[in-house]
């Protein structure tokens, strides 16, 4: 396959945009976090003396000018150092004499990444495996009863509250029948319920898009021409139409992967899944600002990576960008 310069120029431009956006988002997060009160006081509690607070502020670098703090933050962002956690850091770990590295927020957040990737990956693979055949089956017989049933079901899929469905799943399949564990991590059985809860929405959306984009494509003149040449319907759909219908489908799969990455925030909390989503909620609720920054950083990084992958796939599928 011949790949031309336009392809690389396109990808490079998208990559640059993502990096700029990441820096902007993290800067906004940095300044927003400075608005919610004194971090030193949050660490020491309300009973602490003014002197102790001032001491800690100096130690944390909060007494430095804002420009210096921001510069340090940007430097840390570039070198992958997003500061030390408040809670774990200055209470238990320091007293226990743990090594300083254990307190850095980015490694703490990175530890949670594999669990989230497993859950999100399982969800998307399952969704695509269910949704694509459903959508194509419906598109093959438009306005028939099966098509209408699939249409209403896919609308139902996008109408459900994910975490509520998750709780109902727990109630039925974990509590009532005890087929799956209610929460936890480690075995395949643990993945089933959270992935199922997360997959309803992607299944609904991908089914709709697969159906409509294939139908749109089948209505185009080149398909009529192919049919006119006597090529069998099945072959026309599979070889000619599907290739062009793939662009919106791939874009939707990308969008839905991003939705799943945000969906894990709630679903992981419900299932006690040790991923980045549950950690985000924990960090937010104990107001551990450096940890919040690290989790937001990783979540945004994941989203931007998925966007970039979709762009690469798009460039590959679009001959204008691929072939010189």
């Amino acid at each position: 396959m011949k790949i031309n310069n336009a392809f690389f120029a396109f990808i490079l431009k998208r990559l640059l945009n993502s990096v700029i956006l990441l820096v902007i988002v993290m800067s906004l997060v940095f300044f927003a976090n400075r608005q919610i009160g004194d971090p030193a006081r949050m660490v020491l509690g309300n009973g602490a003396s003014e002197e102790a607070v001032l001491n800690l502020r100096t130690q944390m670098g909060l007494e430095d000018p804002m420009s210096q703090q921001y510069g340090r933050f940007l430097y840390g962002l570039a070198t992958g150092d997003l500061g030390k956690t408040f809670r774990f850091g200055l209470s238990d770990s320091v007293r226990a004499g743990n090594d300083a590295n254990a307190l850095s927020t980015l490694p703490i957040a990175m530890d949670r990444l594999p669990a989230t990737l497993i859950l999100a990956g399982a969800t998307i693979i399952f969704s695509v495996l269910v949704a694509l055949p459903l959508g194509l089956y419906a598109a093959a017989r438009p306005r028939s009863p099966p098509d209408r049933a699939i249409g209403v079901l896919s609308l139902a899929g996008v109408s459900i509250v994910e975490y509520w469905f998750a709780l109902v799943l727990v109630l039925v399949f974990a509590v009532q029948f005890a087929w799956f564990p209610t929460s936890g991590y480690g075995t395949v059985a643990h993945v089933v319920l959270p992935a199922l809860a997360l997959s309803l929405r992607p299944i609904g959306r991908i089914t709709q898009i697969a159906r409509s984009s294939l139908l749109d494509e089948m209505a185009k003149p080149y398909i009529t021409a192919a049919k006119g040449r006597g090529i069998p319907m099945r072959r026309v759909a599979a070889v000619h139409a599907l290739k062009n219908a793939a662009i919106p489908i791939v874009t939707t799969i990308g969008d839905e992967t991003i939705n799943v990455v945000t969906g894990v925030i709630i679903i992981e909390t419900i299932f006690g899944w040790p991923g980045i989503g549950a950690l985000t909620v924990d960090a937010l609720s104990i107001r551990d600002i450096p940890l919040v920054e690290a989790t937001v950083f990783l979540l945004v990084l994941m989203v931007l990576t998925i966007n970039l992958l979709v762009d690469v796939a798009y460039a590959f599928l679009n001959p204008r960008l691929r072939i010189g």
Binding site: N17, L21, A32, E162, W164, L167, L171, I265, I266, V296
Partner: protein, 309 residues
């Protein structure tokens, strides 16, 4: 290009010919959508007149009536026997009444947010598409940036900074969702800007504001309505999610999301406490999605005949 322009004008003229009578006729032909419309109408009416419709006060607890299943009777605080049609929650508050008042909170947040973000996004989108140049660049850069980061993540973080509550939620939803309208409005404006009727309006000396308001805006009402309906559904879900995590509406406000989050502690022994508010959200968003889907088809001249035949 000329052919395309001509067909757009043609479609627009055909579009204008659909009347209320046709819409009603199309509605009756699709029972599922008709049921959705009736359900939503009843829901909105009971949310508006919640004080009259709700059988009991949604906030006053009654410890003698705690966690009663649907269709149970209990002695109320005034000593009379009361029917709890949909049961009670952990504090003995009537579920039906809380669902009705919860509808008010959830729908209010969604509708006001959609209105604010819709007006803001449409204005910016039309202006960006009409004038082009640096205005367009600035607006579309902002749109791209907001599109690249998930709304729920932004909403969660901003609510963490400024705190939850009704007004803050509406502000956040307006902040993160205006972009979808801006993108749509700009796209339609770009294609309408070159049409003959806009050119004609310009030729007879209509001002830019007049062209945008009288010639461009009316031609995007139906796609905007479809989008807004889908957005209401999305925001009802988002409100429930954020309230569940504790970053949305604040208790004791009866909101559907908060009810599920409360009911979670008792879900093993009192299934109705999480099932009913979840069903309420599901039916509401499903109705909205069905209506949006149907409306899009009816407003599409290519597809419309199937509904009117």
């Amino acid at each position: 290009m000329i052919d395309e322009t001509a067909s757009t004008t043609d479609d627009t003229q055909r579009d204008a010919s659909i009347g209320y009578r046709d819409i009603i006729r199309a509605l009756v032909r699709d029972p599922l959508v008709l049921v959705s419309v009736i359900f939503l109408t009843l829901l909105i009416l009971s949310a508006i007149f919640a004080e009259i419709v709700a059988p009991m006060d949604p906030l006053i607890p009654n410890i003698f009536a705690s966690r009663l299943p649907p269709l149970s009777y209990a002695t109320g605080l005034d000593g009379t026997e009361q029917l709890h049609l949909l049961g009670t929650d952990a504090l003995g508050r009537d579920m039906l009444s809380r669902l009705i008042f919860g509808a008010r909170a959830s729908l209010f947040v969604a509708l006001v947010s959609v209105f604010v973000s819709g007006v803001l996004g449409t204005c910016l989108g039309v202006i960006a598409g009409y004038y082009g140049g640096w205005v367009e660049t600035v607006v579309m850069r902002a749109v791209d940036a907001f599109m690249a980061v998930p709304s729920l993540l932004i909403a969660l973080f901003v609510l963490f900074i400024i705190g939850g509550g009704l007004v803050n939620m509406i502000l956040i939803f307006a902040l993160v969702r205006w972009v979808v309208y801006a993108r749509l409005a700009r796209g339609i404006t770009l294609s309408l800007r070159e049409t003959q009727f806009v050119e004609a309006a310009r030729a007879i000396g209509a001002s830019n504001a007049r062209i945008m308001l009288r010639h461009i805006l009316p031609n995007m009402i139906s796609p905007l309505l479809v989008l807004a309906t889908l957005e209401i559904a999305l925001l009802v879900l988002a409100e429930a999610g954020l309230s569940f995590l504790g970053f949305g509406l604040v208790p004791p406000e009866p909101s559907w999301g908060l009810m599920i989050s409360r009911g979670r502690e008792y879900m093993r022994e009192a299934w109705w406490m999480i099932t009913l508010p979840g069903l309420a959200i599901f039916l509401t968003t499903l109705s909205l999605n069905l209506i949006a889907n149907w409306f899009r088809a009816v407003m599409d001249p290519v597809q419309r005949w199937r509904w009117l035949m």
